[in-house]
Amino acid sequence: MKQLFILLQKEFIQIKRDPFISKLIIMFPILVMLVMPWVTTMDIRNVCVTIVDKDNSSLSRRMTSDIKASEYFTLTPSASSYNEAKAMLEDLKTDIILCIPENFERNLTNSTPEKINISANAVNATKGSLGSQYLVQTIMSSISKQNQEKGLSTPLELVTIKNYYNETLNYKYLMIPALMIILLIVICGFLSAVNIVIEKENGTIEQINVSPINRFTFILAKLIPFWIIGLFVISIAMLITWLVYGLAPVGSIGYIYLASILFILVFSGFGVTIANKSDNIQQTMFVMFFFLLTFMLLSGLLTPISSMPKWAQYATIILPPRYFIDIMRGVYLKGSGFMDLWYNFLALGIFAVAFNLLAAKTYKKQG
């Protein structure tokens, strides 16, 4: 016990004296939580629309003003022909062309009109398809409003939508739990790995290895500081989320802490295992980056697992962040309780035990 205390004391002195790490631990979560939720958004805004209005009727003018009023769209100067608008699309001066055919309003009432044409730049597939959909919705509502005013029969609104758990479809609320997880992976995984490899590079681990100290004690002393730092980081992140974005967990904060503790255990153990198997910082960093990318893209942090191909969905079973993100989003947005999430806790618990055993096992005092 006394040896563990002495080792811990040494770790904390080193972290405190490291001019970079000590600042990183505080600045990193603050910066990530303040900046990233604003930029990691899939909400489509400011889509440039060019209108080719050949109809020039009250309906087409209503459409134009409705589009102008929408927060999703920015109107460019209108074009006189489709070809002119197409040239603008090619020059990236506009994203979507709305082409209203001649006599559209008149034909709408007495016969079948020529169809309205929407052409979108779909290099960014999300922007193209979502932008077109928004545009269709805007046009449809323009038409039905006009018909209503004229007392014409209008197709009844058959569908109403209510978005549970995130009523305003605020994309930040989806991203914030994911960002918290990435923070923990970087702080607990990377830092604990680098911390051990530095001892290898400086040769100080040799002095530890020739001493009678127990290897489990040594590894435990390496892990504990990052458990504490991890909890500190997640607390800062939650505080900022509440203060800046007004998002507090609907469910119990205790579940978030329980999941965080398990997840921190998983990743500190994981980092130490990688460090034990590598000889220098470059190796450690490359391996960690590989896993960071895998975890970010494949565990449902950024994109839903259910839209991945079947084989990838099966692969996510072995990725710990997948279970953590379910807990985080569940507790934060839905207020899920332990009974809804128990299997996620169980999975994280199993990973935690496995990786920490692996961390202690792979550290050998003898080469």
């Binding site: 006394k2 040896q3 002495i6 040494k10 002195i13 080193q14 004296r17 490291d18 400086n202 040769g203 100080t204 040799e206 002095q207 530890i208 290895n209 020739v210 001493s211 009678p212 100290i213 005092k365 003898q366 080469g367």
Partner: protein
């Protein structure tokens, strides 16, 4: 009882034989030197004896404990100072000492009498970070840390490499002081001139022990005639002398070249053969450990 016993130890890294059937015995309380160039296998031997590395073949024991079976016991009773400075650079002198004392479950004051003469010299800087110390002071701190648990056997791997001449000499004085406390010391060095500070030495090269004896006996065992030669153009002198009849060997040795000769060597004849070289001087030279090393290495 011997403090260190090594029987037929071999260790191979890939195709390189780092240690090839090495046998060695170091008596208790002895200051034993391993002398050899880089790549001789000195560090590998140290790592095996300090239980950091497992040998492929052979048996070794330290203080009566087998390096494979009783490695935990060995870790309690040996001090190891690796060739590279490997203390915590961001901890202060005092913190390093306290840390290593705690690792071995002791306190500084328990072994203070042992480290005092060395620690006294770095005590004025005890709050300074280890990384900010000069080379000589780092080495003293490393020695203090290796001694903090009053080890029975002390392993010093090239302790004087990269240290200035005065500090080197001081360091050997410190080792002499430790010997008085009955600590067995195994020290390696690539500097042949330091060999005379050990009680017994082993000359080693390419994983093999060439010879083991006291420094004096090794020098006395040198039975060739030896001359020191010098001239204005040392390079030309070297290549020309090697061609003269009766010359076994000629190699650079400090400011002069050493000339190893056959029994029938004639000094006049040699001078005559090299008459185109200006300022040729030939003196009888007394052999040193380095001459013996070169002789054994060529054999």
């Amino acid at each position: 009882m011997n403090a260190i016993e090594i029987e037929n130890i071999s260790k191979q890294f890939g195709k390189v034989k780092a240690l090839d059937d090495v046998c060695l015995e170091v008596k208790e309380g002895e200051c034993f030197g391993l002398i050899g160039p880089d790549g001789a296998g000195k560090t590998t031997l140290f790592r095996i004896l300090t239980t950091l590395l497992s040998p492929d073949n052979g048996k070794a024991s330290v203080n009566g404990f087998d390096v494979k079976r009783d490695y935990l016991e060995i870790r309690k009773c040996v001090g190891y100072m690796p060739g590279r400075f490997s203390l915590y650079q961001d901890l202060s002198v005092e913190e390093n000492l306290e840390f290593f004392a705690a690792l071995f479950n002791t306190k500084i004051k328990d072994s203070y009498s042992l480290i005092e003469p060395i620690y006294k010299q770095i005590e004025p800087f005890k709050t300074r970070r280890a990384g900010k110390l000069s080379g000589g002071m780092k080495q003293k701190l490393a020695l203090c840390c290796a001694l903090i648990h009053y080890p029975k056997v002390l392993f010093l791997d090239e302790p004087t490499t990269g240290v200035d001449a005065v500090s080197r000499s001081e360091f050997w004085d410190m080792l002499a002081g430790l010997k008085a406390k009955r600590i067995t010391i195994l020290v390696s060095t690539p500097y042949m001139d330091e060999a005379s500070r050990c009680e017994r030495i082993a000359l080693c090269n390419e994983g093999k022990i060439l010879t083991t004896n006291t420094p004096k006996n090794i020098v006395d065992g040198y039975n060739d005639e030896l001359y020191a030669i010098s001239a204005d153009n040392m390079f030309e002198l070297l290549s020309l002398s090697r061609k003269v009849k009766g010359v076994k060997e000629c190699y650079p040795f400090g400011e002069s070249h050493h000339l190893v000769v056959e029994k029938d060597f004639d000094k006049e004849y040699f001078a005559n053969e090299l008459n185109q070289i200006k300022n040729l001087q030939i003196k009888k030279a007394s052999p040193s450990i380095e001459d013996m090393f070169i002789k054994l290495m060529k054999r």
